[in-house]
Amino acid sequence: MTQSPLLKVRDLTTSFFTSRGEVQAVRGVDFDIHAGEVLGIVGESGSGKSITCMSVLRLLKNNGRTIKGTAHFEGRDLLELSELEMRRLRGNDVAMIFQDPMTSLNPTLTVGEQIIETIIAHKNISRSAARERVVELFELVKIPEAASRLGAYPHEFSGGMRQRVMIAMALSCDPKLLIADEPTTALDVTIQRQILLLLKEIQSRLGMAIILITHDLGVIAEVTDRILVMYGGTAMETANVHHLFDKPMHPYTQGLLASVPNVNNIDGEKLKPIPGSPPDMLRPPKGCPFMPRCDKAMEICVTTGAPEFEIDDAQSHKSRCWLHHPDAPQQKGDAA
């Protein structure tokens, strides 16, 4: 890829300072996303996937602080912008949708009012033009009887429709990047399908880039171009989606894929869980965060986290595991 990335994040490090100590939520994450690309960030709770994006948008709660790193969006480091510049950028160039739309909408205003407000705040257009734009957006996200639903309050919508309202709001200023944090997790599977198809359709029509944060490997496999696997605040592996599911290289990714049943391929075999539980980020392991649960762990993994090894340049496949070191002992049955 010769084009420079839309968002380029390097060595992003974020901690929360709590009464119990420093929680190292994000520990030196690097990733790129290009214009028009759909990047999936997958990880379990506490892996740092949401905090990574909140850090980039500078939406951390009071006790959270990004300690170091850079996040260049179209060449400008977001972590260096003034609060005013940042506010202009959020909602304009970068928009975000969340898991639970009810908590992100104002329950005391009609949905039309809220989106009209957003548009007027960001774009220099009249109220009636903004109103027309909202009707257009509601049609785009397939809210039935769009014009008459403008006057409804958030609680009058179902969960799926509310998420459509959030998507309409996020799209209102033509963002170049949409960050969707578990957008379908609270929805039923048939509604999830509708929302995922909608996101895909809108993405191909408007051509924006999307970062989709989820714990659901199925959702990731359905809609993304490239995947970043996070664990213990660290980016463990990244690759083109097809390549990652075909040839996962990191022991954590391999374990994660092996622990979910495939609905089409039931052989009555037992699931292969990953033993143990995720690390406590108050006291993260010194070396590789996955080391305590890894059946391939070596001496070095205890003391030193692995650097990023290039696996396959054409598939932009990189993995952070000492096993990929040229001098590492060969693993038996590594073809998995």
């Binding site: 379990e44 714990h215 496999a221 599911f245 089409n264 869980p273 033993p275 539980s277 995720p278």
Partner: protein, 325 residues
């Protein structure tokens, strides 16, 4: 399968009154469970799936008499318990237990793990203090925890470990039927498999029968022998798990199964039966077939007549006018 029938449910209904109407006229009911026939065989895992609000949890809780049914019969091991009072139910309570979804909310934070697991033994009046201590130690080992954990509090444990404590409580009295109500939904992906494997091992060693409620359609296929699909208070399809997934008969089941996101990008371009619209309110249900408002096949007949759940292949039941045997 010739296994004996442990639970038999006939035309079971559970309606909740949601408003009395003006001067008590025209009261409104939420028909959470609205005429369910079901058998659970000894030693099997019966999966129960459906979207939120379809009544699957209410059905399970009514079967074990946490709710008083509005009408219908529940037979547990040959005894009709649908109208039994608390006293008559007591011997049955030990034989039916439940594992809950949220291991954070379902354990009392002021009790030690030992007290939590001993509580069912105490309530049932089983054994003296020493015998209970021994039993708790044994249970801890069964669920993969150890004695050192006994004197700690629930909040000191991870979600997966808490669910193990919940399971230890549920099996403490050697139950026959265990209702698993979304037992893994709140857990991380890598932990879910640990708990599912443990539930399967316990079923083998203790001869448990599971009614397994979930919205995870991949996991339910993995764990169940038979699966029932619920929609708005009724079972619309019931079959052996492979039969259900390989040849689903009801249009709702077909749409539901094809909505499952598949963790394999090769499958992306498969044919998908997308379902329009959303689930109607269980207070104001459509006439005739309840699925007709979202069904691609619906005709006038579906609005007029409610289809029965009929056997369309051996052991395979579906409630749709368009499914022929």
């Amino acid at each position: 399968m010739t296994a004996k029938t442990l639970v038999q449910v006939k035309d079971l209904k559970k309606h909740f009154k949601v408003s009395s109407g003006f001067l008590g006229r025209d009261p409104k009911y939420l028909k959470a469970v609205d005429g369910v026939d079901l058998e659970i065989k000894q030693g099997e895992t019966l999966g129960l799936v459906g979207e939120s609000g379809c009544g699957k949890s209410t059905l399970a809780r009514t079967i074990i008499r946490l709710y008083q049914p509005t009408s219908g019969d529940i037979n547990f091991d040959g005894t009709n318990i649908s109208d039994a009072d608390e006293k008559a139910l007591k011997p049955f309570r030990q034989r039916m237990q439940m594992i809950f979804q949220d291991p954070y909310a379902s354990l009392n934070g002021r009790m030690t793990v030992r007290d939590l697991i001993a509580e069912p033994l105490e309530i049932a009046g089983i054994g003296d203090r020493n015998a209970q201590t021994e039993r708790v130690d044994e249970l801890l080992e069964i669920v993969g925890l150890n004695k050192d954990h006994a004197n700690r509090f629930a909040h000191e444990f991870s979600g997966g470990q808490r669910q193990r404590i919940g399971i230890a409580r549920a099996i403490a009295l050697n139950p026959e039927l265990v209702i698993c109500d979304e037992p893994i939904s709140a857990l991380d992906v890598s932990i879910q498999a640990q708990i599912v494997n443990m539930l399967q091992e316990l079923q083998q060693t203790l001869g448990l029968t599971y009614l397994f409620i979930t919205h995870d359609l991949s996991m339910v296929r993995h764990i169940s022998d038979r699966i029932g699909v619920m929609y708005l208070g009724k079972i619309v399809e019931l079959a052996d798990n492979d039969a259900l997934y390989d040849s689903p008969k009801h249009p709702y089941t077909r749409a539901l199964l094809s909505s499952i996101p598949i963790a394999d990008p090769q499958e992306r371009d498969r044919q998908i039966e997308e379902m329009q619209g959303e689930i109607p309110s269980p207070i104001d249900m459509p006439s005739g077939c309840r699925f007709r408002t979202r069904c691609p096949l619906a005709t006038d007949k579906c609005a007029a007549e409610e289809p029965d759940l009929k056997e369309v292949a051996k052991g395979h039941f579906a409630a749709c006018h368009f499914v022929e045997p």
